[in-house]
Amino acid sequence: MTMDRRDFLKTTGMGLSSLMVIPGIKSKSSSGNNEDSFGILYDATACIGCRECENACKDRRGLTPQGEADLNADTWTIVKLYQNQEENSDYSFIKRNCMHCVDPACVSACPVGAMQKTAEGPVIYDETICIGCRYCMAACPFDVPKYEWDEVFPRVQKCDFCADRLRDGEIPACVAACKVGAIKFGKRSDLLAEAHQRIQDNPERYINYVYGEKEVGGTSVMYISKVPFEKLGLPVLSSSSLPSLTWPWMKAVPGVAVVVASLMTFLYWITGRKMKIESVKVEE
């Protein structure tokens, strides 16, 4: 990366000004819960496991499907099968991919801001500034970001919600590929209402829970199913967003620094003064 003096001053200035608008940054991150942002609703009871969505996802990036068993750096979405060993009728498919959290842990974790939540809904990754610390991978409660381990300079890889297609007014490739309507794209708030409506209309077909409505503060990708979500391999998570756990500590840092600096200066002054007084007394 080359950077002349002007660029340096500009970025430093931007960095400094971003420090001054910390409250602004915070309100921005909570406005990720923007009612107009997009989401995806996956209905596990409608999915037939044809894996066309996987193929479309790979097609878009010029890759050929290899029959993967799990998400990896090249496989951004995957349809898995849950089956009860004792009772064959008790089964369900589940399509896994990035959940595009409303307040994502990866975005808060990344030291250089390579992960960003856009106003439209996607959580996107900037491979040109990633330093490769892999904190995003540890921080993700869904184990979504994957790494190009075989590369000398590996990138983090995950579903980007087809952010480029959304910008062009298209819908995500996996949604477009689904022939049975198991994946629906739309405004997150509309999809949430629809999910509850579907459960209410067919209470015997679904368990009464929309996964992703509240998990870690809500996710843009949501699931409804007849099989409990733990069985489908989805983690049980609290409803508070993960960044809301760390932000109070991070916010306190500048204040703590000022308090510690003042306290130490005071201690230096008071102990020094005490010693001076004592030495004067000894001389007398």
Partner: protein, 397 residues
């Protein structure tokens, strides 16, 4: 060391030093290899387990054990307790080496090591790692400046010495501020991951627990390393002074214990202390053997008068910190199965060897231990006199 005290301070370059040099060199060669072929080919890390021993040991433990530097610097300069001065230099040197090696380990672990400076331009004030990165960069510089007089003295450079002395107090205070910030932010790193860290170790006050435990272990490290160098470098350890350091530790450990157990029971996770199998066992080992026992031992005046007993108790504190950081980031950290590759192990061993080697060489040629400072500034060692001292040494061995 100083030629005026041949019996006390000179020692030939022994098998220990050569061994350290070997492992240091091996480690460096493996690092170059890792940078050439990538992480996948050299480490046991996987998508399910992205952080291994380089993060757990080199970074988390390395930085925590270097906390003695800001504690002792604060005691000497801020609290004006000059009697602690003799242990200041070795402690600050250890601190500097700890931070330099932690920064180096991060470079080895990063997927894009050449982009490490991107943190200067791309800010994310929400990220605990961003803050740790900045603090480590600045604090490593502060420690380098704090320890620089040993080099300036050696070459009799008066002007830079004068400058450093004039800014010592602000540097020390800056060091304390930075340490408070990043020692605790290393804990904040794990506050983000309640889904990974087992409830016995996860806590909403991890930043405070990390800060307090780093102070206890940093002070423990001062005793451990002073005793070890006392053997290895034939310099006399000041048991009375180390006893004073040891006296502080039970208070810090006591505070840590109250915070840790208090938080565990207030949060309602206390039930796990018996119900988590091996993890419960590890928890008890940490609390009983590495907190309560050294706390009791170091409270006993007679223990603090006997160097070996004091050393053993301090070692328990240091081991306790290693266990704690390993438990939080590796053992009680829910992620994929992991056993470090031999390359990962030898890189870590290499890092320790580099630290020990630089410390030994600095202690040999520079005025690290202040009782030699005076002689040092008066007479400088020429290569000839060193050889002479070395060859005359075996007789008194």
């Amino acid at each position: 060391m100083a030629t005026t005290l041949p019996k006390k301070n000179t020692q030939p370059i022994g098998a220990g030093t050569i061994g350290m040099a070997f492992f240091a060199l091996l480690g460096l060669i493996l690092v170059v290899y890792r940078w050439t072929v990538g992480l996948g080919a050299t480490t046991a890390l996987t998508d399910a387990r992205g952080w291994g021993i380089w993060i757990s040991f080199d970074v988390l433990c390395g930085i925590a054990l270097a906390a003695g530097a800001f504690s002792i610097a604060g005691i000497v300069y801020v609290l004006h307790l000059k009697e602690f001065y003799p242990i200041l230099r070795p402690t600050v040197l250890t601190g500097f080496l700890g931070y330099a090696l932690a920064a180096f380990a991060i470079m080895v672990d990063l997927g894009f090591p050449q982009r490490i400076y991107y943190m200067i331009f791309n800010w994310n004030v929400h990220s605990p790692l961003f803050e740790v990165g900045w603090c480590v960069m600045i604090y490593a510089t502060v420690l380098a400046l704090e320890i620089s007089p040993i080099v300036f003295e050696r070459f009799n450079m008066k002007a830079p010495l004068k400058i450093i002395r004039s800014i010592t107090i602000p540097l020390v205070i800056l060091g304390i501020v930075l340490s408070t910030m990043h020692q605790s932010s290393l804990g904040t790193l794990f506050v983000l991951m309640p889904h990974r860290v087992h409830p016995l170790w996860y806590s909403g006050i991890l930043p405070i627990l990390f800060f307090v435990s780093a102070i206890a272990a940093g002070l423990g490290m001062v005793i451990v390393e002073s005793t070890l160098t006392g053997f290895g470098l034939n310099h006399k350890t000041d048991t009375k002074l180390l006893g004073k350091v040891a006296k502080i530790i039970p208070f810090v450990l006591g505070l840590y214990l109250v915070l840790k157990l208090g938080d565990l029971f207030i949060s309602g996770d206390g039930a796990y202390i018996f119900s988590s199998g091996n993890l419960s066992f590890l928890f008890w080992a940490e609390v009983l053997i590495n907190i309560i026992i050294p706390m009791v031992l170091l409270s006993i005046p007679s223990v603090r008068r006997k160097p070996m007993q004091m050393f053993a108790a301090a070692l328990l504190v240091v081991v306790g910190l290693l266990m704690n950081r390993f438990n939080i980031s590796l053992v009680a950290f829910s992620a994929g199965a992991y056993m470090p590759s031999w390359l990962e192990l030898f890189v870590t061993i290499g890092m320790i060897a580099i630290g020990a080697l630089v410390f030994t060489l600095a202690a040999r040629y520079l005025a690290v231990f202040s009782h030699t400072t005076e002689e040092k500034t008066k007479s400088s060692i020429s290569d000839g006199s060193l050889k002479e001292a070395v060859s005359s040494n075996p007789s008194n061995k």
